[in-house]
Symmetry: C2
Subunit: 463 residues, 2 copies
């Protein structure tokens, strides 16, 4: 069986920590159970797959904007299937299947299991999910879904209505699917639960051949190169809409373990070990209040219970937990550039940005480059940069020379001059960019440090 993890979303529901470059699955609000280091949902899920020996058959389906942050959090070895543009779950799954078919050369009878990249679950979830393979093959169904046994009549989820209680006696039990119901009112949800309905947690499996046939029937390509080339022509719809709601032979396997959708501040903070992440103080009368502070500025909360205070360079949210999901509507019009971004080599946050009437801009960043990482050797045509090393040591390539750099060093990079920096220890610097700051004003000359060293004259003449 192949696992395809869907890493989508960008949403503002967890504003200001989630932004266009950092979706909720990348927020380091959890804590690694062994090392106690902060970890994100995607890091937790991937490490669960590694521990269970499932990572070898897993792929992450994502889009271009998430490549850097996935590489930063999971390393370079994780296999990615990259959407040319963000569309919806049906095209993303179709592209992944085309990849498995024509690049991985998986057999049409291979079972593909699709799952979201961000559930908070116990190990049992993965064990049950593996049963979907036999269920697909034994039942002969088009799609086998996993349904979570509801713990309360939620109005937020979709429900899967089975045709009968699942056979509890089998090692892998399943029932046929009568129909799906999206986000019912509470009374209706309670009624559905009495009829053994299950929450749709976005986990489902099918024979690769089933999806390939579906694509062919719709006149869509099944070869990966073709799918990439014509991706803009795929319908921008969900798998639920494009496949499940069109009817077919579907079965559902009930999952009786713990499962949480960490999509709101309320559910997310329930999973946090610590009530305070970052600098701050929560007084004794602010019961059940959580603070996640990514700024250097301390937060003090006095006598505000049941609240979430989330602070990042993008914004500061102060919300009652029960109402915090309203942030999505409130921030709808907010489309300013992300002020914090993770990259393959580390991360940066914007300290200050100004645009002048004549179009000239000045951007001040604090940039962290992790030990051993480096920028590609690049140049800009229309901007000057000044780098001031705050801490850490490394080497800078400027023009065609190499220099050692350390705390307090200031480097001026004129337009048109090739430059790169490699951190030997974790390295912080202040970067001021001035000029015209177009994203595409970057010429990457070398991407490998060995090449950069060879290009630079006489590395022995370092200063």
């Amino acid at each position: 069986m192949k696992l395809v993890l869907l890493s989508g979303g960008s949403g503002k529901r967890l504003w200001p920590l989630s932004n266009d470059s950092r979706s909720k699955q990348f927020l380091k609000v959890l804590r690694n159970r062994r090392t106690h280091e902060p970890e994100s949902m995607v890091q937790r899920v991937w490490s669960q797959l590694v521990q269970l020996g499932l990572a070898g058959s897993a792929y992450i389906a994502t889009c271009k904007t998430q490549i850097e942050i996935i590489r930063s959090q999971l390393g370079n070895a994780v296999p990615l299937i990259i959407e040319p543009e963000r569309r919806d779950t049906f095209p993303a799954i179709a592209l992944a299947c085309a990849y498995l078919h024509s690049v991985v050369r998986a057999h049409p009878d291979e079972v593909v299991c699709v799952l979201p990249v961000d559930p908070a679950v116990e190990e049992k979830y993965f064990a049950e999910l593996m049963q979907l393979e036999r269920i697909v093959l034994d039942s002969g169904a088009d799609v086998a879904l996993m349904g979570v046994e509801p713990t309360y009549p939620s109005e937020k989820y979709g429900y899967i209505v089975p045709d009968a209680p699942a056979e509890a006696s089998l090692p892998y039990s399943y029932a046929g699917v009568l129909r799906f119901e999206e986000k019912p009112k509470e009374a209706r949800a309670a009624e559905l639960i009495r009829g053994n309905a299950l929450w749709n947690c976005g986990v489902f499996a099918f024979r690769l051949g089933f999806l390939l046939e579906t694509l062919q029937r719709k006149g869509l390509p099944v070869r990966y190169e073709d799918a990439v080339a014509s991706y803009a022509g795929f319908p921008k719809t969900s798998f639920d809409y494009e496949v499940l709601e069109k009817g077919g032979r579907f079965v559902v396997h009930p999952y009786k373990g713990s499962w949480k959708d960490l999509g709101t501040w309320g559910t997310l903070t329930e999973e946090m070990d610590a009530r305070l992440i970052g600098k701050g103080t929560i007084d004794g009368r602010s019961a059940n209040t959580h603070v996640i502070n990514e700024l250097d500025i301390p937060v003090t909360v006095i006598d505000i219970p049941n609240a979430i205070v989330a602070a990042s360079p993008d914004g500061i949210l102060v919300a009652d937990k029960a109402a915090s999901s309203r942030v999505k509507e409130l921030m709808k019009g907010d489309d300013h550039r992300p002020m914090y971004e993770e990259r393959r080599w580390g991360w940066f946050r914007v300290l200050d940005y100004s645009r002048h009437a004549d179009g000239s801009e000045v951007l001040t960043n604090k940039t962290t480059i992790l030990a051993g990482k480096y920028f590609s050797y690049q140049l800009h045509r229309k901007r000057r940069e000044v780098w001031t090393i705050v801490s850490g040591n490394g080497r800078i390539a400027l023009g065609n020379r190499l220099f050692r750099v350390g705390p307090g060093d200031i480097w001026h990079i004129p337009p048109g001059t090739g430059h790169s920096i490699k951190a030997e220890t974790d390295l912080d610097m202040i970067e001021v960019q001035a000029g015209e700051l177009a994203d595409d004003d970057i010429v990457r000359l070398y991407t490998d440090w060995g090449e950069i060293e060879r290009y630079c004259d006489s590395p022995d003449s370092e200063e």
Copy 2:
């Protein structure tokens, strides 16, 4: 009559907006009634004095650390009496009287009226305060106080207990003072109010000669130069403790107008016209919540009523208004450097600060210089600076040359090199300082722009 406005305090009760360099009276949380521009309490009180024609006989008694911010908010013409160090109200008033005596050469029979610099009051307050002059002279009392008619049995204030209801028939009525009572419990306060007791609002007047005699009796100097020289020897006590509680002939004049002590977030926000100052959003369910945001980062409040959210580079406070006075105790241990400071030439805020293990430091500021203002021509021995102009135009003196500067320009100032900058329009810049950043590593060579221009070679050769 001479007016002495006491500008003291630094307190943390309005943290994070008040800090060691910016006391509550300098916070621009009010709005000018005519121009609708933001204004501080000290600006409001001073403009009230100007309007009533009283500014010509008014002096502000303050300490060194407030000179820059007072000059920035009130201009250079306001007469200041500067304490060499912060002590308490008795030494501050003694120094002011020594100044009036030996510098201004006021007659010992001149009446001096002392008042705090930060009350929120109507014009009537000043009219009544002017009556203290005749009351002092007619009553022959040592000190005539103004007492505010209480509106509720507050536990926060001191009470002045009169020997009889003040004579309401006189144009200026007063009564003798029986005694003072500090911060009584609510029941006791109610009892005091039934006995016509008044709130002590820190306004009192006396013949200059009275205070000079008091000083002589205590063996303290009455000449200004001597008082400055021996200021460290003055008792570090309040005027209440050193004079009023020692007994004497005191009278009190009741003030029946509006008066508010803006010392807490609760009282301060009552005086604000707008519920939001700075970038942000307060949703409809956050009734009676105020946001004062001095950061560039937007604040969003959802369903948190009756709260204050105050954000500055020093910190972010999220507090229930009723409990917000507890911030003082909570922040007691917090003694980090102020991250926002006002200067004669404008202001700056710290964007980032790091200290490295070897003692080297890197500080990144965003600095605003107001049109027409400039830095003194100075040099540093142990730090390098890089200035990047964000917006505005001006002239920079570097070494002994003058240059025009504008948006996007980057200037590197090595240690030992004299430098200054003058803004022609309001000018923002990013300043990165690196090296050893001692406050006293500054050699001021010229403080007048004319001198700086003359010093710099060939101003005609500007680039």
